[in-house]
Amino acid sequence: MKYLVIAAGILSTTAAVADVPELTVYTYDSFVSDWGPGPAVEAAFEEVCGCDLKLVGAGDGAALLARIKLEGARSDADVVLGLDTNLTAAAKATGLFAEHSVVADYTLPVAWGDKIFAPYDWGYFSFVQNADATAPTNFKDLAASDTKIVIQDPRSSTPGLGLLMWVKAAYGDEAPAIWADLSDNIVTVTKGWSEAYGLFLEGEADMVLSYTTSPAYHLIAEEDDSKAAALFDEGHYLQVEVAGKLANSDQPELADQFLDFMVSEAFQSIIPTTNWMYPAVTPAAGLPAGFETLVQPGKSLLLTEDEAASVRDAALDEWLTALSQ
């Protein structure tokens, strides 16, 4: 093991930079990727902070929380960015997070009053399909049709869990019946979003669980208007992505500065065309051209974090039972 440490030391590229304070932000992997918001956010923040911003990717939102739990109070992280409201209750229960001081004029579809976590973007879960296909108008309509869908497993995927919550929020005790009716529409269940979206693009299913903003990627980045999100009249479940600072941060002021920066124009204008979500505070210049074509759900559904935490296990059991028949 000693040799490994030495070898690692030689091969390591993360040499500490003297004098400049370092702010470590843990986030999900697609945020830090070259195609995500990470590189632009890092450049923009370092311009104003006189610091070194280190973005660390750790799987997805749930893996991120697991990582923080593993590291506990010793964590090097100053800020965690990328949890959603299905995870915030568990995150708060760790006692590792401190209150933030962010004040912003949010353009979220719901009121926001969380003292620990501040939102940075949001989106509606939705089924995405080819624009020329007839879209079902709600879950019952979908279940009655012979439309084939591919979804993600709530046990391993954030959107998968979102769908579970969506059906629960829309139908409550009726949810098991909805799942039972949907079971013959479900082609398969995948481990994560990428597998499901890949299968959909290959034509394995007519629809895939994704976001209302997904068609914006195809429209803006690929100039392809062949994808559309189906509008469901029972409302669409919201995903609000949030960040919080850790109580044991060794850079608390810098962490606060980052959270303030997060809801500022510079950060928020990066989000729409890199994370393909709605910014938490709409930039002064408005949303990028193309976003106006996206469907606007008439009703937003969102379980509070406590509701989400309390129905989660039961909802999973219902889902497993209905789909294992």
Partner: protein, 518 residues
């Protein structure tokens, strides 16, 4: 057998095995010790165990069962493109799971080539999702590996035996009873155990092609315990169960795989005189063609979907490719350092425990090993700084079971044939290893190294927990491209990965057998 009656010492092998066991059980214990809450086994867990065992057994039996006639045909026939075919046999095995799934579905899926063909004839599409889909995918992954392992068994039979059998007028059936069947009894159980172990820890393949939560495997339950419930105690418990199941399978296989080798030959090139009748040629040709088509179609699909995006690949993909090559190289070296002493020790008669230790690498959940290593390393060192060595080490341990299956039979042959001669010449220790053992094992070392390099290249492994922001491997970059909607670029990057893995496999495998005919 006492140490003094052997040309080399088994101690380095025992040490390597102890290291592997320490890694697997150490990480498992580390995870278990961090457990706060713990939930016992429920009905859904037993359902997961049942499904896991069913699919793993079916996949192992079918993969190995089909591999026998394919390997026999390949052993008996010489034809143009045979070498390339044998190299390509390594390909399915080394693909990242997500790429292989997409490739398979392009052929067998609802909108795949076969379904489209059937639609032209007015027929229903193929129904791929279900237990049979899981088994089909696992056969796609493991048939090639099983074929290579068994083909190697054929090549271990000394050429003199075939010559003698031919002189005595043995026909195909007699050849089978005298030479091939006893060889298979020695080789097949080990191959079965390896494939069973791989399929046991399957997760994404089983879930996607199984068509839903009916196809929940133990590995998925571990994943759920870790990230949905954050119940580390349960994750450790499930992982231990996986180890016990694999360990049992391995023990049974080792117990069954008995029989003496074929003794000494003059190490000369193999020539066959049997199987010359037209019907035998036709059957062999059919087996080879069927296997080739079954394996090549999905690979073809991957190549075709990767080509369009190839020119526009971002520089970061190439940087990641370089990282992957580094990981693969380091992992290959580590693997050989572990596997060669272990194989030698097994050949010296210290079998059971060491072989068992070797196969456990497959059964250990990568998630649990990664988490355990993280828990152990985090207090003493920066996990990011260790991303490269840790990934390489875990990949090496995962490749160890394959390497041992490849190296052990040959090491046994070499020690059996030359051990006493070396002792009588008082040739012990390093000179024996250097002048006798290694040169005679060269093709097997090349094959094992090639497989390890290719596997390591394609494995996402434990990188997720240790991922340094500046250190992305190619599989990770493929996932990131897909996560950013860039499916075309991801397909192109997958093609690069396929090409790199095949190149590494080809170079090492060929390097090992430059003088051999297969």
């Amino acid at each position: 057998m006492a140490d003094c009656a052997q040309p080399v010492s088994p101690r380095p092998g025992i040490g390597a095995a102890a290291l592997v066991v320490a890694l697997i059980f150490g990480t498992l214990t580390a995870v278990a010790l961090r457990a706060e809450v713990g939930r016992g086994f429920g009905a859904s867990d037993w359902a997961a165990v049942r499904f896991t065992l069913t699919q793993a057994c079916l996949s192992a039996v079918l993969s190995v069962g089909l591999a026998i006639p394919v390997a026999r045909a390949l052993a008996r026939r010489r034809f143009f493109g045979r070498r390339i075919l044998i190299t390509l046999l390594g390909a399915p095995f080394i693909l990242p799971v997500i790429v292989a799934i997409l490739g398979l579905l392009q052929v067998f899926g609802r909108a795949g080539w076969i379904s489209s063909g059937l639609a032209l004839l007015g027929l229903e599409p193929v129904q791929i999702y279900g237990l049979h889909g899981v088994v089909l995918a696992h056969v796609f992954f493991n048939l090639p590996l099983a074929t290579r392992l068994i083909l190697q068994g054929w090549q271990e039979i000394p050429a003199e035996r075939f010559r003698l059998a031919a002189q005595l007028g043995a026909d195909s059936r007699a050849m089978w009873q005298l030479l091939e069947r006893p060889m298979l009894i020695r080789i097949v159980p080990g191959a079965l155990a390896v494939v069973f172990a791989i399929c046991l820890s399957s997760f994404a393949v089983a879930l996607t092609l199984g068509g839903g939560p009916r196809a929940t495997t133990i590995e998925l339950a571990i994943y759920q315990a870790f990230r949905f419930d954050f119940d580390l105690g349960r994750a450790a418990l499930l992982s231990a169960l996986q180890l016990v199941l694999t360990g049992t399978a391995a023990l049974v296989a080792l117990r069954v795989a008995v029989g003496e080798g074929f003794g000494t030959g003059l190490d000369r090139a193999l020539r066959r005189w049997d199987g010359t009748r037209p019907i035998a040629r036709l059957l062999d040709g059919m087996w080879i063609a069927t296997a080739a088509v079954f394996l090549m179609l999905p690979l073809g699909a991957i190549v075709l979907s990767g080509l369009p995006g190839l020119t526009g690949l971002p520089a970061s993909v190439w940087a990641a490719a370089l990282n992957s090559v580094l990981v693969a190289a380091l992992s290959t070296v580590l693997l050989l350092l572990l596997a060669l002493p272990m194989a030698t020790a097994v050949a010296l008669g210290r079998g059971g425990a060491i072989e068992l230790a070797g196969i456990l690498g497959l059964a250990a959940s990568p998630l649990v090993i990664g988490t355990g290593l993280f828990i152990v390393i985090y207090p003493i060192a920066d996990p990011f700084a260790l991303a490269l060595p840790v990934t390489a080490l875990v990949n090496a341990v995962m490749a160890l079971p394959f390497a041992l299956r490849i190296l052990v039979p040959r090491a046994q042959v070499v020690v059996g044939r030359y051990g006493r001669l070396a002792l009588s010449l008082d040739m012990r220790g390093w000179p024996f290893v250097w002048r006798v053992l290694l040169p005679r094992m060269r093709p097997q070392i090349g094959f094992a190294a090639g497989l390890a390099a290719a596997l390591s290249m394609g494995d996402l492994g434990v990188i997720a927990l240790f991922a340094d922001p500046e250190f992305a491997t190619l599989p990770l970059q493929i996932y990131r491209l897909m996560g950013a909607y860039r499916m075309e670029a991801a397909a192109a990057a997958a093609l690069v990965l396929l090409a790199l893995s095949m190149a590494a496999f080809w170079i090492l495998d060929r390097g090992g057998r430059w003088h051999a005919e297969a």
